[in-house]
Amino acid sequence: MADVSTILQPIILPDTSAGAEPRSYWSTVGERLVHDRITLAVGAVLLCVILLAIFAPWAATHDPLQGSVLRRLKPVGTPGFFLGTDEIGRDIWSRLVYGGRLSLICGVTPVALATLIGGTLGLVAGIGGRVVNMAIMRVVDVFYAFPSVLLAIAICGVIGAGIGNTMLSLMIVFTPPIVRVTESLTAQVKNRDFVEAARASAAPLHAIIRHQILPNVLGGMLVYATSLVGISIILSAGLSFLGLGVTPPNPEWGLMLNALRQAIFVNPIVAALPGLAIVLTSLCFNLLSDGLRSAMDIKLPS
């Protein structure tokens, strides 16, 4: 074997990536996202929807609650009411725009809250010992035993309708899946060598969680949460459709869908419009989630 002790000096290695800026993981993800045309398009559409919802008072052409019996169920293209009117004579476009606010809020808020609560529980379950893990995951299993639609309807049916109750019910429905996903991610990360190295460095547990575990778990959680927003929008609209969610006369897409059901014999296109809005928004969130997942799936050199 060659005598290697002749090489005595510490070696200054040549810089293999000449002059390139350090690329953090998230900046790489961001760049990949921006270059993905579909995600870009979807993001633009979503931005429009959000902006319309925020600036509803300016974007709407009429008062969404003002109806007139004379103007019932006018078709698309009626001058002044370019998307027609509903069964009470209210302008569809304005109701759609204002409805966007409710639908977006009902879509995002429960998921955000569920991520907060579920994420914390999942982290605790992943890091805690066997007993803690079993306790949390068994309770989650029980809630998982209910199909989400059933659970949402049952809870809403019991505590009553209204936008607050809807969001509460959806939050309860979404927490168990998030707990599961977070726990699974945490358990995987916990076993990796760098976490063991962090433990070996006598750092306190909270520092290890904050700096080593959390940054590596957040990405997966984010992808999953975005995919849930689309479902949340559909579910909340569904609850309103059944009369369990938002109450009339509030403009909400699901509620509009239900109210216009009778109208399909008279003016079918108008009756389908709120559904289109739901599909569009939900589609955007789903595609965004997909785009995020592929952007994050970077095959890093090892």
Binding site: R138, V139, D141, V142, F143, A145, F146, P147, S148, V149, L150, I153, A154, I155, G157, V158, I159, G160, G230, I234, A237, G238, F241, L242, G243, L244, G254, L257, R261, I264, F265, P268, A271, A272, G275, I278, V279, S282, L283, N286, L287, D290
Partner: protein, 314 residues
């Protein structure tokens, strides 16, 4: 293997207990006294007290639960506050109607999803694949009840070829063409989401398998394309099966929306009515039965998975 089944069974029983507690506990989330639903507000106090004792509301919660559980295990789900009929019987017939919808929808959705997903994966990057991706993601972004409405608009209003609502008969499986016609639109509607979800899972699983080396190795050994596909599918089966189980649960529990659109007298509508009429026993019984079905289906799926994939038998 037997050990695995025993463990899973114990786990399932535990879960079922939890489910029963939740189903039972639901009514106690209702604001107010459960008796308020049954009696008019001006009822005399003695009547209220007497009914309280009769229904057992005066006893501590866990005793009420145990009593209820005891009755349930004997098959007695209580009596509907509204119709006075036994819940068990009503629920079972409603459930039967839901099955008439759910089973064909499941078969349609699963087979279509698997076929399209596999085709898409084998034609990765080409038009077929992209087309499928669009259809699948539309399938899961769409509120299926809206699709139902749209289908009704197209096929029952604009061009009246299919009935817009109802079962067409007395319930149970269709026995003639007219009854079967009533099935077409609801089944298609209900199968959309499972098709999308299964299709996507199958596609991504098969893609992952194809990216490994063994399919190429199989072909190099001289296997025909068909046989190689069979091997790939066998490997893709476990995750797909798991999702199918979940979807079956969705079909049973989530049919309520489609049933409302098509006025289908299934368990979903049954539950819907119960909610609006505050019919507690019906609600409790329905939730319990539907959730239990889901749990048992998942158990079967898990066992099936373990049979196919030896790695799962921990």
């Amino acid at each position: 293997m037997a050990q695995f089944i025993v463990l899973r069974l114990l786990h399932t029983i535990l879960i079922l207990f939890g489910v029963s507690i939740v189903a039972f506990g639901l009514i106690h989330l209702i604001p107010g006294n459960p008796l308020d639903i049954l009696l008019p507000p001006e009822a005399p106090k003695e009547v209220v007290e007497r009914l309280k004792v009769e229904f057992g509301f005066d006893k501590p919660l866990y005793i009420q639960y145990l009593a209820w559980l005891g009755r349930v295990l004997q098959g007695n789900l209580g009596t509907s506050v509204f119709t006075g009929l036994r819940v068990t019987g009503e629920l079972l017939s409603a459930l039967g109607n839901t099955f008439v919808l759910a089973i064909p929808a499941a078969l349609l959705g699963f087979s279509l999803g698997t076929t399209l997903g596999t085709l898409a994966a084998f034609n990765h990057g080409r038009l077929l694949d992209k087309l499928f991706s669009v259809i699948a993601i539309l399938g899961i972004s769409m509120p299926h009840y809206w699709l139902g409405i749209a289908l009704v608009i197209v096929f029952a209003v604009l061009n009246p070829v299919l009935p817009a609502a109802g079962m067409g008969g007395d319930g149970g499986f269709p026995v003639n063409w007219d009854e079967a016609r009533h099935l077409i639109l609801p089944v298609i509607t209900l199968s959309m989401i499972p098709m999308g979800v299964i299709g996507r899972i199958v596609r991504s699983t098969v893609l992952e398998i194809l990216s490994q080396e063994f399919p190429t190795a199989l072909q190099a050994k001289g296997l025909q394309h068909r046989q190689m596909v069979w091997h790939v599918l066998k490997n893709a089966a476990p995750p797909a099966l798991a999702v199918m189980g979940l979807q079956l649960g969705f079909l049973l529990g989530g049919s309520i929306l489609v049933e409302t659109v098509f006025n289908w007298p299934g368990s979903g509508q049954f539950m819907n009515l119960a909610i609006f009429r505050r019919d507690i026993p019906v609600l409790q019984g329905t939730v319990l039965v539907l959730a239990s079905f889901f749990v048992i289906i998942n158990l079967l799926v898990d066992v099936l998975q373990a049979l196919i994939d030896p790695r799962i038998r921990r």
